[in-house]
C-alpha cells in the first residue's frame, strides 16, 4: 500500500475543541465542509465513528487517537489529521496518556485489510520515531511536513 499519497497537507487541521465528542464532531464537519464525502453520509459516518468508540476507545497510546470506520461509497481512503497540542481532555489512551494527535481514517467497507495496514503503519511510525510526536504537534511544523513525518518512509 502506498502510504505517501494516502493524505495531503489540506487534510491537516489544528483542532479548536478540546473534548472527545467535540473533536470527533469537528473532524467530521471538516470532512463534509471539504466535500470529501457526499453530504448524505454525514449521519451514518457520525453513527459509525461513535459506535466504534463505544466498543473500545481508539486512544491507542503514545498520545495518539485513531478513530476509524469503513463505509460504502467511499472511493479513496480519507485520512484527516487533527492536532491538539494541549490534549483532548476525556480522550485517554490505553497507556493513560492524553490524546494529542487524532488521525481519523475512513475506508471503503470491503477494505478491512488496507484498514489494518494503515492503522499498523501509523502506530509503527509513531512508535519507532517517538521524537516525531513533538514535531508533529508543534505549530511551526507545516501540514505537509506533518504528513511526511507520519507517513513518510
Amino acid at each position: 500500500m502506498d502510504f505517501s499519497s494516502i493524505t495531503d497537507s489540506s487534510k491537516v487541521l489544528d483542532l479548536k475543541t478540546d473534548t472527545k465528542n467535540a473533536v470527533l464532531h469537528e473532524m467530521i464537519d471538516f470532512i463534509f465542509s471539504r466535500n470529501l464525502l457526499s453530504q448524505d453520509l454525514r449521519s451514518l459516518l457520525t453513527e459509525k465513528i461513535f459506535h466504534r468508540e463505544e466498543l473500545l476507545s481508539t486512544g491507542i497510546g503514545l498520545n495518539l487517537g485513531i478513530p476509524h470506520t469503513r463505509l460504502k461509497k467511499v472511493e479513496d481512503p480519507i485520512v484527516i489529521i487533527g492536532r491538539a497540542p494541549r490534549g483532548v481532555q476525556d480522550y485517554i489512551c490505553m497507556d493513560d496518556t492524553m490524546v494529542k494527535l487524532v488521525i481519523m481514517i475512513i475506508l471503503e467497507e470491503g477494505q478491512h485489510k488496507k484498514h489494518v495496514q494503515l492503522l499498523s503503519k501509523i502506530v509503527k511510525s509513531i512508535k519507532e520515531h517517538p521524537g516525531n510526536m513533538a514535531k508533529i504537534l508543534a505549530s511551526e511544523t507545516a501540514p505537509a511536513d506533518v504528513c511526511s513525518l507520519i507517513f513518510g518512509e
Binding site: 466498543l55 481508539t58 478491512h112 492503522l119 502506530v123
Partner: protein
C-alpha cells in the same frame, strides 16, 4: 353428427390432411385433459378418437380408418423397432438368471392363464377352435406390460432398488416376448380358424416361416442400416435413412407374408447389439418423431372402436381377460422371483407392478383386428381397449403401493432433488458467534481451537453485523503493534448473502456460488440469526444423503428371498 362427416368429406383432395391434423390436435387435447386427471395420456388419445370416430361424431369414418391402415403399420413398426432396441445382450448378462426367470414366468404365466380362461369362457359363446384362437391371441397380448405408465410412477416417486430395477427391465422386454408370442399365436390361430391353410404340415411350417423370415430380414435390415449410416452424418440424414429402411422392411415383410412387427423388432435388436455406438443416434432420431405419430395412431384406434361392439359377450371376455391376466401376472412374478432367488421385496411386491397395459397391447390388438377382420378381430380390439382403460386406472396406483411397501420411494434422489426439496434452515449450523468488541487476540485463539472458518459478528441486539473469516484475520497476524487495539468490528466483512431458513437450498446455493463469499447467513422466521450455510455444508449434505439412499437401496438388494 352428419354435419361433421360432411365437413370431413369436403375438399376431397385435402381430406386426409384435415383428418390427420384434427386427429393430432384432438389427441393432444384429450391427452392433456387425462394427465390433469392423473391418468396416462394414451388413454386421452383413445378417448379423443372415440369422440371423433365411429362411436362419436363420425368425423373419421370406417373407410378412412381402412385407408389409413398403412399408417398404423408404420406406427406399429416404430414400436417394434424401439422395443427391439431394448434387447441388448449386456442387459441380460447384467441382470442374469434372476431377471430372466421373472421375465419368463410373469409373461408366460399371464399368457397361459389368459389363454386358458378365455378359451374356457369363450367356448360357451363360440366354436371351440375360435375360442382357442381368441385365447391364444389375447394370451399373447396379455404378456405385455406398458412401460410409460409404470415408469412414470417410478420416476415421479424417485424410486430406486431391486423392484424398480426389475420393473425397468421387464416392461421393455416382456413387450418383446409379447411380440414373439403374438406371432406364434396368430400363426396357430390362422390355422385353427381357417384363415390359413388347414394342412398339418403347413400349420407347422407357416408359423416357422413367418417368424423365421421376419427375424432374417430384420437382421439384414439392421446390418444394412448400420452400414448406411455414417457416424458423421447429421441428425436429419440419420432420420431419413432410418425411416426409409424401416418402411422398406415393413412393406417387404408384408409382401413375403412375414411377421412385420417381429421384423421391425429384429431390426432394432440387431442394430442395438451390433452397433452399440451408432445405434443410440438412430434410436434417438426415430424417437424424435414418435410423439405426433403415436398420438395420431391412438386417436385412430379410438376412432375405429364401435361401442356397439361392447356387447355382453365382449364384457364377459373383458372380465375373463382382466382376471386371467391379473392372476397370471401376479402368480408368474411371484414364482419367477422365488425361483430366481430375487430379494424379498421383489418376491412380495413386484406382482403389483405389472398391471399397466397400453401402447403395445393396443397395437397388437389392431394387428389382430386386421388379420382376423372376418372373424373375431373386432372382439380382440374391443376387449383389449376396454381392459386397457381398467388397468390404466388401477395400474399406476398399485405400482406406487408396491414400491412404497418395498421401501424404494425416494431412494433415487439426485442432487437437484435435494437442492429443490431441502430448506436452508434444515442443514445450516448455528456456529459460534462473537461480539463486535471481541479482541483480535481472542479471535485468533478461537480460530486455533476449532475448525470453524467463519465467525458471525453480533451487535448488542444480537443482530448479525458481519463476519470474521480466517482470510480476514490473516492481516492481523503481522500487525502486532495494534493487536490490543483491534476488535472483531475492525476485521469483519460485510455479509453478501442472507437467506431465510425456509429458502430452498437451490436458491441459496445459486446465490453463494455466484459470490466470492462462499456462505450465507440464515435467519429464522423472526429474523434472528439461525446459522451459517457454506458451500461445503451443502455439498457434504448432498453427498451424505445420496450415499445413505444408495446404502438403503443396496441393502434391499441383498435381502434374501424367504422360502
Amino acid at each position: 353428427m352428419e354435419l361433421f362427416h360432411e365437413i370431413a368429406n369436403a375438399a376431397d383432395p385435402l381430406n386426409i390432411l384435415l383428418l390427420l391434423g384434427t386427429a393430432l390436435l384432438a389427441g393432444i387435447l384429450g391427452g392433456r385433459l387425462l394427465v390433469l386427471l392423473k391418468m396416462p395420456s394414451v388413454v386421452g388419445y383413445i378417448i379423443s378418437g372415440i369422440v371423433i370416430g365411429q362411436t362419436g361424431i363420425h368425423f373419421i369414418d370406417g373407410d378412412t380408418i381402412e385407408m389409413l391402415k398403412p399408417y398404423n403399420y408404420f406406427a406399429l413398426g416404430i414400436i417394434g423397432f424401439l422395443i427391439g432396441g431394448e434387447l441388448k445382450w449386456e442387459v441380460f448378462k447384467k441382470y442374469g438368471k434372476q431377471f430372466t426367470n421373472i421375465l419368463l414366468f410373469e409373461a408366460l404365466t399371464a399368457f397361459v392363464a389368459v389363454a386358458s380362461v378365455i378359451t374356457l369362457v369363450g367356448s360357451f359363446f363360440m366354436p371351440f377352435p375360435q375360442a382357442i384362437s381368441i385365447g391364444l391371441v389375447l394370451g399373447a397380448i396379455a404378456s405385455a406390460t406398458a412401460p410409460a405408465a409404470t415408469t412414470d410412477v417410478l420416476w415421479e416417486n424417485k424410486t430406486r432398488g431391486p423392484i424398480t430395477r426389475t420393473i425397468m427391465g421387464l416392461v421393455a422386454l416382456d413387450d418383446a416376448l409379447a411380440l414373439i408370442l403374438f406371432a406364434i399365436a396368430v400363426s396357430v390361430a390362422k390355422v385353427l380358424t381357417g384363415n390359413g391353410d388347414a394342412n398339418i404340415l403347413t400349420s407347422i411350417v407357416t408359423p416357422v416361416y413367418e417368424m423365421g423370415s421376419a427375424v432374417l430380414i430384420g437382421i439384414i435390415a439392421g446390418k444394412s442400416l448400420t452400414a448406411l449410416i455414417d457416424p458423421r452424418a447429421e441428425e436429419g440424414a440419420v432420420l431419413r435413412i432410418s425411416i426409409g429402411v424401416l418402411l422398406v422392411i415393413l412393406g417387404g415383410a408384408k409382401v413375403i407374408q412375414s411377421d412385420m412387427l417381429l421384423a421391425a423388432m429384429a431390426m432394432g435388436a440387431t442394430l442395438s447389439n451390433s452397433a452399440p455406438r451408432k445405434s443410440p443416434r438412430i434410436f434417438s432420431a426415430i424417437e424424435g418423431i414418435t410423439p405426433p405419430v403415436f398420438v395420431i395412431f391412438f386417436v385412430l384406434v379410438g376412432a375405429g372402436l364401435s361401442v356397439s361392439g361392447l356387447d355382453t359377450t365382449a364384457l364377459i371376455l373383458v372380465g375373463a381377460y382382466f382376471l386371467g391376466r391379473t392372476g397370471g401376472k401376479m402368480l408368474g412374478a411371484t414364482i419367477g422371483a422365488k425361483v430366481g432367488r430375487a430379494p424379498t421385496s421383489v418376491a412380495k411386491y413386484l406382482r403389483y407392478c405389472l398391471f399397466s397395459q397400453a401402447g403395445v397391447a393396443i397395437g397388437l390388438s389392431i394387428m389382430a383386428q386386421d388379420i382376423f377382420q372376418d372373424s373375431f378381430g373386432k372382439t380382440i380390439a374391443i376387449v383389449i381397449t376396454t381392459s386397457t382403460f381398467i388397468v390404466q386406472l388401477i395400474g399406476p396406483a398399485l405400482t406406487k403401493y408396491a414400491v412404497t411397501k418395498g421401501g424404494e420411494v425416494g431412494l433415487n434422489i439426485t442432487e437437484e432433488d435435494l437442492l429443490e426439496k431441502t430448506t436452508a434452515g434444515r442443514i445450516c449450523t448455528a456456529r459460534n458467534t462473537i461480539t463486535e468488541d471481541t479482541p483480535v487476540t481472542k479471535i485468533i485463539e478461537l480460530f486455533s481451537e476449532d475448525d470453524q472458518l467463519y465467525y458471525p459478528v453480533m451487535d448488542k441486539h444480537h443482530s448479525v453485523q458481519g463476519v470474521v473469516t480466517i482470510q480476514g484475520i490473516k492481516s492481523a497476524f503481522l500487525a502486532y503493534e495494534i493487536t490490543d487495539f483491534l476488535l472483531a468490528h475492525d476485521l469483519m466483512e460485510q455479509i453478501h448473502t442472507f437467506a431465510a431458513a425456509g429458502d430452498r437450498l437451490s436458491d441459496v446455493n445459486s446465490y453463494i456460488s455466484m459470490d466470492e463469499q462462499p456462505f450465507a447467513i440464515i435467519l429464522s422466521d423472526s429474523g434472528d440469526y439461525a446459522g451459517i450455510l457454506t458451500e461445503q455444508d451443502i455439498q457434504k449434505y448432498i453427498t451424505s444423503k445420496i450415499t445413505e439412499m444408495r446404502k438403503i437401496s443396496n441393502n434391499l438388494d441383498t435381502a434374501e428371498v424367504t422360502a
